[in-house]
Amino acid sequence: MYCKKECIAMLLAGGQGSRLYDLTKQIAKPAVSFGGKYKIIDFPLSNCINSGIDTVGVLTQYQPLALNEYVANGAPWDLDRMRGGLSVLPPYQGGKHSDWYKGTANAIYQNINFIKRYNPDYVLILSGDHIYRMDYKLMLEQHKRTGAVCTVATITVPMEEASRFGICNTNPDGSIYEFEEKPKQPKNNQASMGIYIFSTKTLIEYLEADEADENSSNDFGKNIIPNLLNNGEKLYSYKFDGYWKDVGTISSLWEANMDLIGEEPILNLAEKKLRIYSKNTARAPQYVGAKAKISNSLIPEGCRIYGTVKNSILSGGVIVEEGAVVSDSVIMDDVVIKKGASVYTAIIDADSIIEEGAVVGTDGAGKDNITVIASGSVVAAKKA
């Protein structure tokens, strides 16, 4: 039943995303809505299928209900396959051990049997925390060309932010001689994107050794990569120069949404190349009323707009009633903004109701002062 695959992907989707506060109270970070019709996990899953990878293990842990429901059998990404396809891999009870996933490396370690079923030459490790479009095929080609046992995807970040990332120090040929996790004084600004391609044999060998080490924190960045380097293994960096954004904070999530609009959007979702797929529903087409004013915004099906929407990203089924104003905001599924209400510089999570005349947020507040409304909230107008 299990045929050999050249490369399979393991997608770490168990992250809590605690810095997204109310947005991830009940759902895992990869299940957070993005860009009107998507969830964060659509990006790595679409990248996989666009890169010819048809076998993906999705490792879930934190609040997996919404995520499991969403990825289901993988059909939206064409990952419902007879052989391979998408498999959700939660932590499990075993005969000897039963454990939560302790770290990124431990999560993969616990699923070595899944990897072995497909006998792949290479394993691609991904995380479900980033917004980016990438052809992993090109990275795999480099991995094969260089003969590396591990290739780490890197991206140039501003020098002043480099100390927040895992930094790859490389030789001129791209081989890595040092990997520093969140260095105080970074030597350069090539940050690891948390995307690794391993040759399977080496991966399993190091995961087993790491598991045997009681002092390890079972993390790729902190343990596996340094161990490989210490043992003189051949590691290369793969430089990626496209759009890539960690949406782990409220302000970065808001900013990434805003990157989708504007005269020349930094990230254009309508582009056909490396298209991002998502679960599409049969909602009614959007309707724009006689007094509506919409500018510089993304609006999907199911919305009904009778008021003003500018510089905003709306998700499916949002209703903006007459006289209501939505500006510089991200509005998630099925939110109702009633007559005369105003929403400025905010992220409003699904199913919330902004009552008549209520005011949410401050006009022009900027990315560091985003107002967040948790899902299912009802916001009433302040009494005079």
Partner: protein
Amino acid sequence: MANSAAGIIFSSLNINTLSRLTGDRTVAAIPFACRYRLVDFCLSNMVNANISNINIVANYNYRSLLEHIGSGKDFDLARRESRVTFISPFQSGASASSKMFSTHMEALKSMREYINDFKEEYVVMMDSDNVLNIDVSEVIKSHELTGADITIVTRAIDKSYSAKHPRMMLSSVAGKITELALDSAYNERYPELSLGIFVMKTVYLRHLISEAEAFGLNSLTQLMLKNCKSSNYRAYKYTGFVASVSSFLDYYRYSMELAKCEQARESLLWKKEAPIFTRVHNSAPTVYSAKAKVESSMIADDCVIEGTVINSIISRGVRVEAGAVVKNCVLFAGTRVGKKASLNCIVTDKAVDISDGVTLSGNENMPFYIQKGRKI
């Protein structure tokens, strides 16, 4: 009881009246309300009533219909216990000549063996040229309650009604149909129009087919006209929005009504408990640029709106470029309206390309149609 009715949808038996829109597609495959095709309403009405054995009679150019419905998955009809089956004309060993299904009865006669196998107690038949969102389970319930032979869904018409070709009209007293006629203009003797939705017991349908065979009749309507007085035919009057699309002008007018009338949208598209299903595409949200100006319009996904759109129905993947004005139009999927172009009362078929600066105008009573793939 769930699953106690089978469905038969007639995809195209009035093809002659919609010539422009049916140049290369059957009536059921005509796009409507941005993202739907006419057949979606029939299928959704049935699916929402838990009908899971649905049969589509397809004779006229049905390629796009097949493509649209596929396995039936998007309608939740690709399950072990639910299916959508296409019934098309065929040649058989018994007779050298194949019937082209030019009437309902011709198709039903060919399906005879198959209908004999229906396990369901009732059959719901629908034509695809009436667009409505009706609770079919209520119609079946009423049919059971009244013990009718056939229940016909109708709507009231007045003297503003006219159709290019004769349709079934009737009068009823307390639901009991007293007179049945074929006419294309309003006649006060028949103030109700049949919406082409018939409910009957499966055994009754078998009986009708036998009778048609015995009398050599090839028309279900003729048979019903003949039997009306001696049978218990009943009308189920529907009062919600109905688009009876019998001509190109009808099509245009009902599209405009959807753009302008909130009640029409509520009745047809926004019923929470009765969604309309359709083939889903992977599409990005619609982009409204800084200069976009949109009023009273219904818009699908994957569009880019940089110009002005008023009172229009805009399908998937349409581009209205900067300075362009689209008014009172129906634009099918993939239409591009170039910079500063201006359209009024135009229906563009799929993938029409309107070059920069072009001005085109029809009239409310004579909208202008541009065929598939044309560049102007």
